[in-house]
C-alpha cells in the first residue's frame, strides 16, 4: 500500500509526514510526533479521550484517517499552554479537582476549550451537553463541570 505525504500544522508548527491510509490521526499524532497526551479509550468515537481541535472543530481523532487531515490545522492538549503557563481550563481542572486518574482529562479539556471558544458564558446545562461525548469513570463529573464553569469566569 502506498504512503501518502500530507502537510499539516500541529500546535502551530508546520509538518510534512508520510502516512499509511489506515492510520488514524490519533495514531499518527501519538506515534509519529510523540504527542501522547491524546488517548485512545474506545477507538469508536464514544469516549472522547482522543478529542482534538481540527480546523476549529472538536473531533474524535480515533475516527479520522490520517490522510483526511491533509492541509489541516490541529490543536492537541500539548498546544494549550503558552510559555509555560497553563491554559485557564487546565488551571481550573487542577484547582477544582477535576482530575483523578487523568486518562479522560486531555479529551475533557479539549472539549471544554472548544465549548468556551464558541460559548464563553455557558450554563451548567451547556457544559453538560458540551462534554456529553467525553466519558470519565473516576470523578462523577461534578468537579469537571465546576472546573469548566470556573474557567469561563477566569477567561472572563
Amino acid at each position: 500500500m502506498t504512503r501518502h505525504t500530507i502537510s499539516l500544522k500541529i500546535n502551530g508548527q508546520p509538518y510534512e509526514v508520510a502516512v499509511e491510509p489506515h492510520w488514524t490521526l490519533l495514531e499518527t499524532v501519538r506515534e509519529q510526533f510523540a504527542l501522547t497526551g491524546s488517548k485512545e479509550g474506545c477507538g469508536t468515537g464514544d469516549c472522547g479521550a482522543c478529542s482534538m481541535i481540527v480546523d476549529g472543530r472538536l473531533i474524535t481523532a480515533c475516527l479520522m484517517l490520517a490522510p483526511e487531515a491533509d492541509g489541516s490545522e490541529i490543536t492537541t492538549i500539548e498546544g494549550l499552554a503558552r510559555n509555560g503557563d497553563l491554559h485557564p481550563v487546565q488551571q481550573s481542572f487542577i484547582e477544582a479537582g477535576g482530575v483523578q486518574c487523568g486518562f479522560c482529562t486531555p479529551g475533557m479539556i479539549m472539549a471544554a476549550k472548544a465549548l468556551l471558544d464558541s460559548n464563553p458564558r455557558p450554563t451548567l446545562e451547556d457544559v453538560r451537553l458540551g462534554l456529553a461525548g467525553n466519558l470519565c469513570r473516576c470523578t462523577g463529573y461534578s468537579k469537571i463541570y465546576e472546573a469548566v464553569l470556573a474557567a469561563a469566569e477566569r477567561i472572563g
Binding site: H22, E40, S51, I59, M64, G133
Partner: protein
C-alpha cells in the same frame, strides 16, 4: 476477536483515494470496481471497518472530503433547499436558514451523537448508512426530500422512500454516489418538529423518533400534515393515515390525540435491546401527540 486488550481494533489495510471532483470520484469507482466504499465523516464507516462485522472490509476508500460539488447548503424560494451530501450535522444545526424554515431537520441534526460526532458526521452518511433510527431521516422524509444520485450514466433523482430499502440498504448501485438532498420550500405558516426518545439525552440511539410538519390556514385549519416515524420499521416511514386524518380539520387537542393513535397503529416496530414493540408503539402515540402540539405552536409563529 481481532482486537486486543488495552487497544481497540486497529484498522485493516486498504487503499485510499482523495478525488478533487465528482467526475474524478465517479471515474475512480468505475475503474476500481467492486469492493470500495465512499468515506464521508467516518463516524459510522470507520467504526464498521474497525469492527469488521457489519460490512466486508473494503479494499479501497474514496474520500468525499475534497469534492466541492458535494458541499454546501443553499436555499431559494423557488427551488427550496439543497444540502450537499457532505454537509455536517453541525453545519445543518447551525444554519439559521434551516432553523427558520426546516426546524424539524435542525432538531434532528443537533442531537446526533456528541459535539465531536456532529462536527464529523454528514447528512449524506446518515442517509446512506440507512439506519431506521437515523435522526435526520424522519425530518427529511416529512419534508419530502429527494436524493440526487450521481453515477456513470449521469444523475437520477429518488424520493427517500424509494432510496431506503431496509436496514443499512439503499437503492445506490455500484459506482453511484449520493450527491445532494433537495427539499421543497415548505408552504407559509408551516411548523415542524422532531423528537426522539432515548434513555440518555445525548450519545444515544433513538428508541423511536417522530417528525411532524403542520401547515395552518384560516381559523387554525390544517391545510397539510406530514408525519414521519423512525425506528419502528425496516426503514423510516410516513404515517399517511394519520396525516389524512388531520388535513382539512381545525387543530384541536382531541384531533391530535386521535391522529397520534392512528400513527401508532401505522408503526410496525420490533422487540430489541432498546425497547419492546409494545413500548415503541406507546412512545409513538405519546410523542406524535406532543409533536403535533409543538408543531402547531411553531406554525402559528412561523
Amino acid at each position: 476477536m481481532r482486537w486486543h486488550y488495552g487497544r481497540s481494533a486497529p484498522l485493516p489495510r486498504f487503499e485510499y483515494f482523495a478525488p478533487q471532483s465528482l467526475t474524478e470520484a465517479l471515474t475512480l469507482l468505475q475503474e476500481r470496481g467492486q469492493g470500495g466504499r465512499a468515506l464521508a465523516g467516518g463516524t459510522d464507516l470507520v467504526v464498521q471497518v474497525k469492527e469488521g462485522v457489519k460490512i466486508p472490509i473494503p479494499s479501497y476508500l474514496v474520500s468525499l472530503r475534497r469534492i466541492p460539488e458535494l458541499r454546501g447548503i443553499d436555499f431559494s424560494a423557488r427551488d427550496g433547499l439543497r444540502i450537499g451530501a457532505t454537509a455536517t450535522m453541525a453545519e445543518i444545526a447551525e444554519s439559521p436558514l434551516i432553523r427558520e424554515r426546516y426546524s424539524a431537520l435542525a432538531d434532528g441534526a443537533e442531537i446526533v451523537g456528541s459535539i465531536q460526532t456532529m462536527n464529523m458526521a454528514t447528512v449524506g452518511g446518515n442517509v446512506c448508512n440507512a439506519a431506521p433510527s437515523a435522526d435526520t431521516a424522519p425530518p427529511l422524509l416529512a419534508h419530502e426530500a429527494v436524493a440526487v444520485v450521481a453515477g456513470p450514466q449521469g444523475e437520477r433523482e429518488l424520493p427517500l422512500e424509494e432510496f431506503w430499502l431496509g436496514p443499512n440498504q439503499t437503492a445506490l448501485q455500484p459506482g453511484e454516489l449520493l450527491r445532494e438532498l433537495r427539499l421543497p420550500a415548505p408552504p407559509a405558516n408551516t411548523g415542524g418538529v422532531y423528537v426522539r426518545r432515548t434513555p440518555r439525552k445525548q450519545m444515544d440511539i433513538a428508541v423511536i423518533g417522530v417528525a411532524v410538519l403542520l401547515t395552518l390556514g384560516q381559523g387554525d385549519r390544517i391545510e397539510r400534515a406530514r408525519i414521519a416515524l423512525g425506528a419502528v420499521a425496516p426503514t423510516p416511514v410516513r404515517a399517511r393515515k394519520a396525516e389524512a386524518a388531520l388535513e382539512g380539520k381545525a387543530a384541536s387537542e382531541a384531533l391530535f390525540a386521535e391522529a397520534a393513535e392512528t400513527a401508532a397503529s401505522e408503526a410496525s416496530p420490533i422487540d430489541d435491546i432498546r425497547g419492546s414493540a409494545e413500548f415503541r408503539r406507546h412512545l409513538v402515540r405519546v410523542t406524535t401527540e406532543r409533536c403535533l402540539l409543538e408543531a402547531v405552536q411553531r406554525a402559528r409563529t412561523a
